[in-house]
């Protein structure tokens, strides 16, 4: 595949899951097993295609868009069907194909009531197209369509296969994020009219920037900010997340943490920063403050949780805080850190949700006190994997979690675009508090490990025959475990791919 001409490959990869969903719909519901296998095949073929795309990606020119497609689409409003990927899109796009594949494998064994794999996998495939689309769409209208497309399947996933409070959680998830995206849409429209170039192209608009008065940029940025900040989610817009995560089925949680949240941070980096640089500079200190509040606050909330899954959900608030701190630094290192943190969080927290789900399968509870310790004795392999992932999540060097956190703090010490002239003291404070957040993070993870893994198992579990990690779980988890280690040892796998693209992007901001 020639990355300059093979735009078709990206289109095929993008819509393959959607087509697959259609194909699944044709299968009779009674073929339960075959439907699940078909899910693995569809996501597997799509993943294989994305691996091929990655292999033929020209890493020497990762700053430029490759696999582009640009055709007229809705001419009445100048919307074009513009797709492409650069070094920023590629890692996220890759993750969007890896995780559903692993989820499909996992679903061959585990599917919460009421079952119905056809509907479940169909929704997951729809979701996949929506998520993937946001990372490769380079037209604001197209981006928005994909962005909204994600909501519907996730709504049904939580609402149908969720826990006891699924109705509340799903409606809340849907309305809250929709609320944010309305403001985003208005801001997109404002940008379109203000630029006056009859284009929605993200590239074109980035090159034209800055346009409009500072006031315009501020207001437009605020609109976009609301849309993306809710998705990330940033403190104080995070309250939909714990409910959605806690109630969602395992696969839903994995995809929510693994990919969905990244759409928000990606949006900031791809759209808000380059198109509205002056607005971004104005907002950066505020973003930084909210990010660090999120880090400390999220970690504190984790300490108070009694439910494993809810704890992991809150940990996302803290981890995404580091990602946003990187963005608030407004320099190349910060954007690099944010994007690295994105991927690392996707892999690690996705894996944690897999573990939480499987824990629930075994113990039929997620209450830490009810599980009551001794898992290393009762389920030794499971306990070791759990320790490994928890340690990765608390940011141990050598594992994936470290680089995003360290680099974000490092970048924030010297924020770019003139922010340092006014706010260097503030940013130093942000770095210190973010670092204190890492202590709290270590605190709640070690405490969690102590209460679940260590000690002797409670009497009620001691005689219970619980399965250690099953083959299907090894298959669906091993790639993530390998990635956690590989990204920690070879950060160049992400940093290297992104480097030129981030430099390019910062060029738009005048940095």
């Amino acid at each position: 595949m020639d990355p300059n001409t093979a735009g078709w490959a990206l289109v095929v990869a993008l819509f393959l899951p959607l087509v697959g969903a259609g194909a699944l719909a044709m299968m009779p519901s009674s073929m339960d097993r075959q439907i699940r296998q078909a899910g693995v095949v569809i996501t597997g073929v799509a993943f294989a295609l994305v691996v091929a795309i990655t292999a033929s990606f020209d890493f020497g020119r990762s700053g430029e868009l490759q696999f582009t497609t640009d055709v007229a689409w809705i001419t009445a409003i100048d919307a074009r069907f513009e797709l492409g990927m650069d070094g920023i899109s590629l890692p996220l796009f890759f993750l969007t194909y890896l995780l559903p594949f692993l989820c499909a494998i996992y679903t061959t064994k585990h599917l919460p009531s009421p079952g119905k794999p056809k509907a479940f996998l169909g929704l997951m495939l729809m979701l996949q197209t929506g998520m993937a689309g946001t990372f490769v769409a380079f037209d604001l209208v197209l981006f928005f369509i994909f962005w909204e497309l994600v909501l519907v399947p996730m709504f049904f996933m939580i609402g149908m296969w969720g826990g006891s409070k699924r109705d509340y959680a799903s409606v809340k998830f849907f309305l809250y994020t929709l609320f944010g995206s309305i403001f985003m849409l208005v801001a997109f429209l404002a940008i379109y009219f203000q630029a006056g170039a009859s284009t929605w192209s993200i590239q074109a608009l980035s090159e034209m920037a800055p346009f409009g008065s500072t006031t315009f940029q501020t207001w437009a940025f605020l609109g976009i900010f609301l849309g993306f900040a809710i998705k990330v989610p940033m403190w104080p817009f995070h309250t939909w997340l714990p409910d959605a995560h806690t109630e969602a089925p395992t696969v839903g949680s994995v995809l929510l943490a693994g990919v969905l949240l990244k759409m928000g941070t990606y949006g900031f980096i791809r759209i808000a920063l380059p198109i509205l640089p002056e607005g971004a500079i104005r907002f950066a200190p505020l973003i930084g403050i909210l990010a660090v509040i999120g880090i400390i606050y999220g970690s504190l909330c984790c300490l108070a949780q009694t439910d494993v899954k809810r704890l992991i959900a809150f940990s996302s608030v803290g981890h995404m805080g580091f990602v946003m701190l990187g963005i608030a630094a407004m320099n190349e290192a910060g954007i690099q850190a944010a994007l690295f943190g994105n991927i690392a969080h996707g892999v690690i927290t996705g894996m944690l949700f897999f573990l939480a789900g499987s824990m629930h399968e075994r113990y039929h509870t997620r209450e830490i006190a009810v599980i009551g310790g001794g898992m290393l004795k009762k389920l030794p392999r499971y306990g070791v994997v759990f320790t490994f992932v928890a340690v990765a999540s608390l940011g141990l060097p050598g594992l994936a979690g470290f680089w995003g956190e360290f680099a974000a703090m490092w970048a924030a010490i010297n924020p770019g675009l003139g922010i340092a002239d006014t706010y260097s003291g503030l940013y130093l404070g942000l770095v210190i508090f973010a670092a204190i957040g890492t202590v709290l993070t270590a605190g709640y993870f070690l405490w969690l490990l102590q209460r679940i893994n260590l000690g002797d198992p409670l009497e009620k579990w001691a005689k219970e025959p619980l399965d250690d990690i099953m083959t299907i779980e090894w298959v669906s988890w091993t790639p993530l475990l390998v990635l956690i280690l590989a990204l920690g040892i070879f950060p160049v796998l992400i940093f290297g791919v992104q480097d030129a693209a981030v430099a390019n992007l910062m060029g738009y901001l005048g940095g």
């Binding site: 309305l175 909330c301 141990l396 010297n414």
Partner: protein, 700 residues
């Protein structure tokens, strides 16, 4: 092969390979993996010897630096993976591989029959690797990585017996206390590297470049003071300085060989090593040096006092480690670069010896408590004489290694005092006083263990060769290592020249130049003679080979004799019914309560964060923030219903459009607004958007 130093990368890589191999297939081997650990450590030890010999015989060796660009970090900056091999590195290599090898051999017998034996060996090797990654680092970021990895290994090994809650708590306490210090380390490293941005380097973490920039005055005072104080916070927690030493005594929950390797000889000295690495940077600021000296002095004295009231032998040794680390830190703060790392070196051997000796005793009597020992001299002769050698070295008895290294520290304090710094006198006098305390508690321990009658419920017997062998070797080193820097040493080839880097040779104290010091019109670095330095004309970091100080020798001997005599009076005949160290009223109570630091930390840090702030945050999220979201939702619903009623009323009252649209038709339509149906709500939102678009278009 041209030289040994080019093979330096092997030294950390071998233990890593060992860890991986042990974890993968160690269980299936006859030695359950321990033989892999021992063999690879022997290889690493041989390479370390080669490097040590090569660097030592070079006088002050030129640092050998090699690095690869491991990853870009954005903005043109690069993270290097590299090695910096000079005398300091070589010294640490030698110390770490020697002690680690001894511990690997010793544990084959000591840990025999333990569950998780193979895991233990994998972790020992992994720890050794991590420590060596830190030691070999040519940049501070790589050092941070090694630093945090040793912390993880420490956590995993302290909690080795994780069935017991107290051991779990000790592991958590160690990890979190040091992690708190790491806030300082990480932010400090970041601050220093930010200072390097201005120099146009692409490798802002590089240690040699940082030292050079600091000496050339390219780093601002603010960067140096803030950066080094923050890094020092990391050293305070890692190297057990007060008040963050609280984790170290609790860390004795781990197996004793672990205490010897990690919590005495190597990991806890990481802070001192890092300060030595960055010495040319911290030497730029009198403030930084004063803070370091004062923390060190407080720790060396008050930490040592705590050992007086312990019954648990490992706790005695732990507090003595805290105290000895305090000497090393204090030495850094008074310009005793060589003195500090020399003490680090000798202490590593004799403290490892003492811990391994303690392990041998504990193995024999199945108790950590000295009150359960007594009379061990006859039952365990080899453990006895090696332990005595270790104790003498720790107490600084003349002609042992500890004597030469501790005296170096006191002399460094005296010289610093000669430059007009009060911290220098403090180190000298408090250091002497603490030496008295050290002698007393070690003499107390030795009498309680070896004198009197056997109080244990076992018939103790000497340990086997795999345990006694390392004790003997370490005992030899506890004496011999001191002669690397003694009045008997060569002027050219000695510990000082070996571990001095070219930066340390050239570095000066700019604040001495500025006239804060008494005397010293010019500060020249090259002078390496003690007399010259003492005269105050020229003051350099290197002081040259020590000469005899009869006055100091007399004081030291007198203090030693008094302390031993007192201990013999109280403990010479075995365990007294009422231990005099516990009969000192309020003073004893304060010591038993560990000055209240542990209690304070638990009651005013752990409990509020875990039980108050966390609950508050969770409540504010679930009730306050979510309440706002919920009330917005409710408000919207109420507004919709009100609109419906008003419109409905109007429609009915006015009878508008009565013919075309009946009231029933309207109400039927509007009723659906509050259906609870998400798609409808979404539709309403889209409609609202259109209104906003129109409003925007009109405003434009």
């Amino acid at each position: 092969m041209n030289s040994w130093v080019e093979l330096a990368w092997l030294v950390p890589v071998l233990p890593l390979a060992s860890a991986v191999a042990i974890a993968s297939f160690g269980k299936n081997l006859p030695g359950k993996g321990s033989e892999i650990g021992v063999l690879t450590l022997v290889a690493a030890f041989v390479v370390s010897i080669g490097i040590a010999w090569e660097t030592f015989s070079a006088g002050t060796p030129e640092p050998f630096e090699r690095a690869v660009d491991w990853s870009p970090l954005g903005g043109g900056f690069v993270f290097e993976l590299g090695m910096l091999v000079d005398g300091l590195t070589a010294m640490m290599f030698l110390l770490v591989t020697t002690v680690s090898l001894m511990v690997h051999i010793y544990s084959r017998e000591y840990m025999k029959g333990e569950p998780r034996f193979t895991y233990f060996y994998a972790m020992l090797s992994l720890f050794t690797f991590s420590m060596l990654v830190l030691v070999i680092s040519n940049n501070t970021l790589q050092a941070v990585i090694g630093w945090e990895l040793v912390g993880l290994c420490s956590y995993l090994l302290i909690g080795f017996y994780w069935e017991e809650k107290s051991n779990q708590d000790a592991a958590n306490k160690a990890f979190l206390t040091t992690k708190f210090g790491d806030v300082g380390l990480v932010v400090g490293v970041i601050v220093l590297s930010a200072g390097m941005f201005g120099t146009g380097t692409s490798t802002p973490f590089n240690i040699q470049e940082t030292n050079a920039a600091a000496m050339a005055g390219e780093l601002s005072t603010g960067t140096i003071v803030l950066g080094m104080l923050l890094i020092f916070l990391g050293c305070v927690s890692k190297s057990g300085q007060m008040p963050l030493h609280v984790w170290l005594p609790d860390a004795m929950a781990g197996p004793t060989p672990v205490s010897a390797l990690i919590h005495a000889a190597t990991m806890v000295t990481a802070g001192i090593f890092l300060l030595a690495r960055l010495f040319p940077v911290l030497a730029q600021s009198a403030t930084v040096m004063a803070v370091i000296a004062i923390v060190g002095v407080i720790t060396l004295f008050f930490g040592g006092l705590l050992a007086l009231v312990q019954d648990d032998l490992k706790k005695v040794l732990a507090y003595s480690t805290v105290s000895q680390l305090g000497y090393m830190i204090a030495a850094i703060g008074v310009g005793g670069y060589t003195a500090s790392i020399f003490h680090l070196f000798t202490h590593g051997f004799f403290k490892a010896l003492l811990f391994l000796g303690a392990g041998s005793l504990i193995h024999a009597v199945h108790s950590n408590n000295m009150s359960d020992m007594g009379g061990m001299r006859r039952a365990m002769p080899h453990t006895f004489w090696t332990f005595i050698v270790g104790s003498l070295a720790l107490a600084g008895f003349p002609l042992t290694a500890g004597f030469f290294s501790k005296d170096e520290i006191l002399i460094a304090g005296d010289l610093w005092a000669g430059q007009g710094f009060a911290t220098g006198s403090l180190v000298y006098w408090v250091g002497l006083a603490a030496a008295f305390v050290t002698t007393f508690y070690m003499a107390r321990a030795c009498f309680l263990i070896f004198a009197g009658e056997n109080r244990s419920h076992h018939a103790p017997h000497e340990s086997g060769p795999q345990m006694v062998g390392p004790l003997m070797l370490l005992a030899v080193l506890s004496i011999a290592s001191g002669y690397l820097l003694s009045p008997f040493s060569s002027q050219e080839f000695n510990f000082e020249n070996w571990t001095a880097t070219p930066f340390v040779e050239d570095a000066t104290y700019p604040f001495l130049d500025a006239g804060t010091a008494a005397g010293g019109d010019t500060v020249v670095a090259a002078a390496s003679s003690l007399t010259l330095a003492a005269e105050g004309g020229e003051f350099s970091i290197l002081h040259g080979v020590p000469t005899w100080h009869p006055d100091l020798l007399a004081i030291v001997l007198a203090l030693f004799s008094i302390a031993v005599f007192l201990a013999w009076r109280f403990y010479g005949k075995g365990l007294p019914e009422r231990d005099p160290t516990l009969q000192m009223g309020a003073f004893s109570r304060v010591l038993v309560a560990k000055y209240g630091f542990d209690d304070f930390g638990y009651r005013f840090v752990v409990v509020p964060v875990r039980d108050t702030f966390a609950k508050w945050a969770s409540w504010s999220s679930n009730v306050v923030l979510d309440g706002i979201v919920a009330s917005v939702g409710r408000g919207t619903k109420t507004a919709a219903m009100t609109t419906y009623r008003v419109l409905d009323q109007r429609v009915i009252d006015g009878g508008v459009n009565g013919a075309a649209f009946s009231a029933a038709w309207w109400s039927n339509r509007l009723k659906r607004i509050q259906s609870g149906d998400v798609q409808r709500y979404a539709g309403a939102l889209v409609a609202g958007t259109i209104v906003l678009i129109l409003a925007f278009a009109a405003a434009r």
